[in-house]
């Protein structure tokens, strides 16, 4: 693919990151817009996002993306001016265009030539604009050229004037915080220049290459977005002299006036001042619209570098907060987390050493000093661990934000009318969990719309509001995060679940009759049970609730369901805040220590050998009214068991999905928090083990993979 001259791979990376954000923002906002949350600010935000995307794709030289965003921008422009109105058709086309943008973006990321047919989509947009024209205004709308026009200005103008006022106020405080050798630069651009923003961009680009831009008016954001008037002011921290900078900047064409002076010099000559600052808001007129016709942005944009973008994360929402955030590569955080985990291990080790030394040198000064230091190291380590855990936390909005669009598309597809209400999207959890939780939630939401919410007529007949309500809620509860998916649909038919479970041989007819409704409804998580409706395309891909449960349990979480016939269904998912550290029951088998995640441990039993009976080649134990398959870990791991002296067996009862299994171990070694580590590349996956952890004394403990052990028993059982 051909890019503008001087575009580096880093530029593309920066572009992609920004495109990710803008596209997501557009998607969020479009769905909001359709849900009649129309407001001037929203429309303005949408327009700006499209405009920014257009500008950056043109700068990059991505013709197709620029063309498409240009067409979208046009539609948004007409929307905000009220020339056209929000219709389902228009939204469909725009969302499709957004998908196409996203596809092109991913193709760019993958480094392949994109196959997206932009012309077709652009034609669709044009057509949709024509059809969505506000009746009275139809003529104006259809004849509007593909440009931001006069009518759009008033809104922009106000916004810009406010921004300008804020900027000049801010300028003073920026100035006072700068060192005396910082340079103040003022540039006037020729009024005849067709692309003032490109020139302004060249100037800041140049400045960024020789120093650091402390502040500029217009802001870097605005310059990039093309919101540039015919003047530019900037403060730069650089080791070049004022005259050197002036000389460099002079080389950029279309600049009528360039003035550079150090702050100290200006201060000295403070009486006869500059006739700046420019009145950014007053005369932007024709300058305001985007300068970039597709591809014309030759802009020497080789250094649309990270620093600009890093600062442009929070566009226009308060300049004061600009530099308080930093982007950090995830792998760095992972490394940091590993290092802290090492400290945690050392801390435990240190505590042991201290104890030993104390017993030897009791009461001596040096021993007490060591004790104090060790305590302090321990405290600092804990805090460090907490803080790093917090850094790794992301708001669950990262998962939730794609759902409004999904629900919208799905309800349209299925002829449902559904409102999705999201609560607690700011709730934070570790990014490792965020990465894993998306799919199970998608499944639950699809179920809610597909099976929960009734078609509108049916709802009206049942005396319910026409529009169904799906609620997605997240909150913290102790050390877990709780996510609820609730719908006000028809609920789960518990008797039907019973019948089916009996049909499929999951439980006996007796048991089905005996268990409570609450227990019965939880049978939907049993493997092999899918009610008739669940086989359709909505629940999709043949994935049943059993998979949802398995996936959640793999994260050491749990899921439960409550339902009321005719009223609705609520799924409650509980997850740990992080996957990196879990609480585990340590056990000893054949002299080695193993860790069993506490989330799967039900109870520990001590029973005589004689109570174990062999059924179909499988050792079992009658626990309550349940037949518990017994797994001797010593056999699984091929080690010698050293049984307890009283001849009783120590059984740790664990659960995965709905099945319980008893693990026979030699000794219980207490519970503790453990840091999960991979077994390492050479070993790969090993059945029965999910990882390893380092204990306080430096020894390793293998972590037992409960789900796989439980599965190994159940498959054996069914195979017979």
């Amino acid at each position: 693919m051909d890019f503008s001259e001087g575009i580096t791979p880093e530029d593309i990376q920066v572009f992609l990151e920004e495109a990710d954000e803008q596209i997501q923002l557009l998607e969020d906002d479009l769905v909001k817009l359709e849900r009649a949350e129309r407001s001037d600010e929203l429309l303005q935000e949408i327009f700006r996002a499209a405009h920014t995307l257009k500008g950056s794709s043109a700068t990059l030289g991505h013709q197709k993306m620029a063309e498409l965003t240009h067409a979208m921008e046009n539609a948004f422009d007409q929307l905000r001016r009220g020339a056209i109105e929000v219709t389902t058709e228009l939204m469909d086309v725009l969302l499709k265009a957004l998908d196409a943008l996203s596809d092109m973006k991913e193709d760019l990321r993958a480094g392949v030539e994109t196959g997206v047919d932009v012309d077709e989509i652009v034609a669709d947009i044009t057509e949709a604009i024509r059809l969505s024209a506000v009746a009275a205004d139809a003529e104006t709308a259809s004849s509007t050229p593909l440009r931001t026009t006069e009518a759009g200005k008033s809104v922009d103008e106000t916004a810009q004037m406010q921004a300008a006022a804020a900027q000049s106020q801010h300028l003073e405080s920026v100035r006072s915080s700068l060192p005396g050798n910082a340079l103040h630069l003022a540039v006037a651009i020729d009024q005849e220049c067709p692309m003032p923003s490109v020139r302004a961009f060249q100037v800041v680009d140049l400045l960024a290459s020789v120093g650091e831009i402390a502040h500029s008016v217009p802001s870097l954001d605005d310059i990039e977005a093309g919101n540039v008037d015919y003047s530019l002011e900037a403060y730069v921290i650089t080791d070049k002299s004022a005259s050197e900078i002036e000389e460099l900047v002079q080389q950029i064409s279309d600049l009528i006036e360039v003035r550079v002076a150090s702050i100290a010099d200006e201060e000295a000559a403070s009486a006869g001042d500059l006739d700046e600052p420019p009145e950014s808001g007053s005369n932007e007129g024709s300058a305001q619209p985007a300068p970039t016709d597709t591809g014309s942005a030759d802009s020497g944009g080789s250094q649309v570098d990270g620093s600009h973008h890093a600062k442009s994360r929070q566009p226009r929402r308060g300049f004061a907060s600009i530099s308080t955030t930093v982007r950090v590569d995830v792998s760095k955080l992972d490394t940091l987390m590993n290092l802290v985990a090492e400290l945690v291990i050392d801390r435990a080790h240190l505590a042991q050493i201290v104890k030993e030394l104390e017993s030897r040198f009791e009461g001596s000064d040096i021993s007490e000093a060591l004790d104090r230091t060790s305590l302090n190291v321990g405290r600092v380590t804990s805090e460090l661990q907490d803080e790093i855990m917090k850094i790794r936390m992301l708001p669950i909005d990262n998962v939730f934000r794609r759902f409004p669009r999904m629900i919208r598309d799905l309800s349209q597809e299925l002829g449902r009318e559904v409102d999705l209400v999201i609560e607690g999207q700011d709730t934070e959890l570790d990014r490792s969990v965020i990465e894993e939780i998306g799919d199970p939630l998608i499944h639950l939401l699809r179920n809610a719309v597909g099976h929960g919410i009734e078609p509108p007529e049916e709802r009206v007949k049942a005396g319910k509001p026409r529009r169904g309500l799906v609620q997605l809620r997240a909150y913290h509860q102790e050390n877990t995060i709780v996510i609820e998916v609730e719908d006000d649909g028809r609920g789960i038919d518990v008797d039907r679940v019973r019948t089916r479970a009996v049909d499929r041989g999951i439980i006996s007819a007796d048991a089905a009759a005996r268990i409570s409704d609450r227990e019965a409804v939880n049978l939907i998580f049993a493997s092999g049970l899918s009610t008739a409706q669940q086989v359709d395309a909505v629940a999709g891909r043949g994935v049943g609730m059993d998979i949802v449960r398995t996936n959640i349990e793999r994260l050491n979480g749990s899921i439960s369901v409550e339902t009321r016939k005719g009223k609705g269904t609520r799924f409650v998912v509980k997850l740990p805040l992080t996957l990196a550290i879990i609480r585990a029951q340590l056990v000893s088998v054949g002299g080695r220590i193993y860790a069993v995640p506490i989330s799967s441990v039900q109870i520990n039993l001590r029973e005589p050998e004689s109570k174990i009976t062999t059924v179909k080649g499988q050792e079992t134990y009658l626990y309550g009214d349940r037949v518990l398959p017994i797994i001797r870990l010593s056999e699984v791991f091929g080690v010698e068991s050293t049984p307890a002296e009283d001849g009783r067996l120590l059984i740790v009862v664990v659960r995965s999905s709905d099945e319980q299994v008893g693990l026979v171990v030699d000794k219980l070694m207490g519970q503790q928090e453990i840091v999960i580590k991979n077994l390492g590349g050479v070993l790969g996956d090993i059945r029965g083990l999910s990882g390893v952890t380092i204990l306080g004394d430096g020894r390793l403990a293998l972590i037992i993979d409960v789900p796989s052990l439980v599965r190994s028993v159940s498959t054996r059982e069914y195979a017979v």
């Binding site: 590993n338 290092l339 985990a341 090492e342 291990i345 050392d346 080695r592 699984v636 791991f637 091929g638 080690v639 580590k677 991979n678 077994l679 390492g680 590349g681 050479v682 070993l683 790969g684 996956d685 090993i686 059945r687 029965g688 083990l689 390893v692 380092i694 430096g698 020894r699 390793l700 293998l702 190994s712 498959t715 195979a719």
Partner: protein
Amino acid sequence: MPGNQEAKQMHEYVIFELAGEHYAVDVSPVEEILRMAEITEVPHAPSFVEGIMNFRGNVMPVIDLRRRLGLPTSEHTKNTRIMAVSLNSGTVGMIVDAVSEVAEIPPEIVEPPSPIILDVDTDFLTGIAKMGSDDQEGKLVVILDLVKVLSDKSQRELAEFSEAMAADDV
């Protein structure tokens, strides 16, 4: 500090012993040479994997290089060492009988491997060097390609291993 450019250009090698023979590996990926330490056995791991150990707070798999190269196994002695080697897949420990020195092996004295004189699989070898000064008896040093030692065949065995596991499940 091993691992830098300079060392590589110097053609420096770690020379160690296995079953009475001298072997050498490029010094640059060798992070540390450790005394024998507690190794935790991993059930169901491939046979050449001795286990895992705690190396600088990380979990490092340890392989028995004798077994890996198809040599007869032996008891560990006080000379037994673990070479921690950093490869693409992470750091791996390799048990060797003893580590004698770090020495330069100029490329001129390295000859292509000849399968006749060797017990080990020639796939793993880069060449053979005849070392030693005039007053000393020359010794033959087998130069190993660590990446190969840990890739091709290991991968195959690991694959077979997982298949066996899968079959076991049925």
